[in-house]
């Protein structure tokens, strides 16, 4: 309310918000999620060789792909490699994507990312866990307490994920990293949607309990 009043009182604040938005797009974040129709339009334009459309498509999805594969992999470095490979594969094979089959673009892209992750699992032994490295130091922000809190939440989530079964980890990563529904996840992991829902429910409960316990113990230690 205060923000709205300030924006109304200061016409220049509106320009500032546009400036921040433009800067965030310029530096690689496209926070405003597009509707599926708009994504499909971008796909069509990118197929026709429109570089700006391809760039927008990339920025719309890159963070989502990273979040998803990070939940399945051991380190940020691996997630970075997989994200890069998956985005390249997707952007160079847009012709293979068919929305007529009822698949959302994000689900198609996630399939590519998951397959890239699985190839990495096959190549690398022993089995990967979601953690195994110290949490990366976040980029400096204005508020150091926010950085510490983010690092703590991140560490707790990764720790809790590492304790899940690989299949559960994959399913929760697809759910919360890519925001896929049970039917879309079921198609990717070749299971019945009902089973996916059951696994999700179980994994959510165990993740929630574990994260809360970890946050409490880390909070007490700090």
């Amino acid at each position: 309310m205060i923000l709205a009043a300030t924006m109304a009182a200061l016409p220049s604040a509106r320009h500032l918000s546009w400036l921040f938005k433009a800067l965030s797009v310029l530096f690689g974040a496209d926070s405003e999620a597009l509707a599926e129709d708009a994504v499909l339009e971008l796909v069509e334009r990118a197929r026709a060789g429109d570089r700006a459309a391809r760039q927008r498509l990339y920025r719309q999805h890159v963070q989502r792909v990273f979040r998803t594969v990070r939940g399945m992999l051991r380190s940020d470095a691996e997630a970075e490699d997989v994200t890069q490979d998956a985005m390249l594969t997707a952007l160079t094979s847009l012709d293979r994507y068919s929305p007529r089959s009822g698949t959302r673009f994000v689900a198609w892209l996630t399939t590519i990312a998951v397959n890239t992750t699985r190839r990495r699992f096959r190549r690398r032994r022993p089995e990967l866990t979601a953690t195994g490295e110290l949490p990366e130091i976040a980029d400096p922000s204005d508020d150091p307490a926010e950085d510490i809190d983010l690092a703590r939440r991140r560490a707790a989530l990764l720790q809790a994920l590492a304790e899940l079964e690989p299949r559960e980890r994959e399913i929760v990563s697809l759910r919360y990293g890519s925001d896929l529904n049970a039917t879309e996840i079921a198609a990717q992991v070749r299971m019945e949607p009902a089973n996916v829902r059951k696994i999700l429910e179980r994994a959510r409960a165990s993740l929630g309990e574990r994260i809360e316990a970890l946050m409490k113990s880390r909070g007490a230690a700090a």
Binding site: F27, G28, A29, R54, Q55, Y58, R59, V62, Q63, F66, R67, R70, G71, D76, A79, E80, T83, Q84, M87, L88, L91, T92, E136, A138, D139, L150, R153, R154, L157, L158, V172, Y176, G177, D179, R204, L207, G208, I211, E212
Partner: protein, 79 residues
Amino acid sequence: MNDTEIMSLWSALEPTSRRRARIETRVSEWLEASETSIAAEWLGLLKVEPLRALAYASLGAVVLLLLTPVGWIAGLLLT
């Protein structure tokens, strides 16, 4: 923890801006390179460094001219 809370917690896994910039640079460089033909790269080089590009082209032609007969002779001697 409910679905929304876990979803919001998941945002802690997002890449840092530095990492995001690195991924974007690699992806866009690769895409750009895959779309540029060798001829276009040569033309680009010719535009930026005409002397060096001509020197490379001449060197390539000389190497081809010299090595082709040498290759034939070596082939004849070996068979």
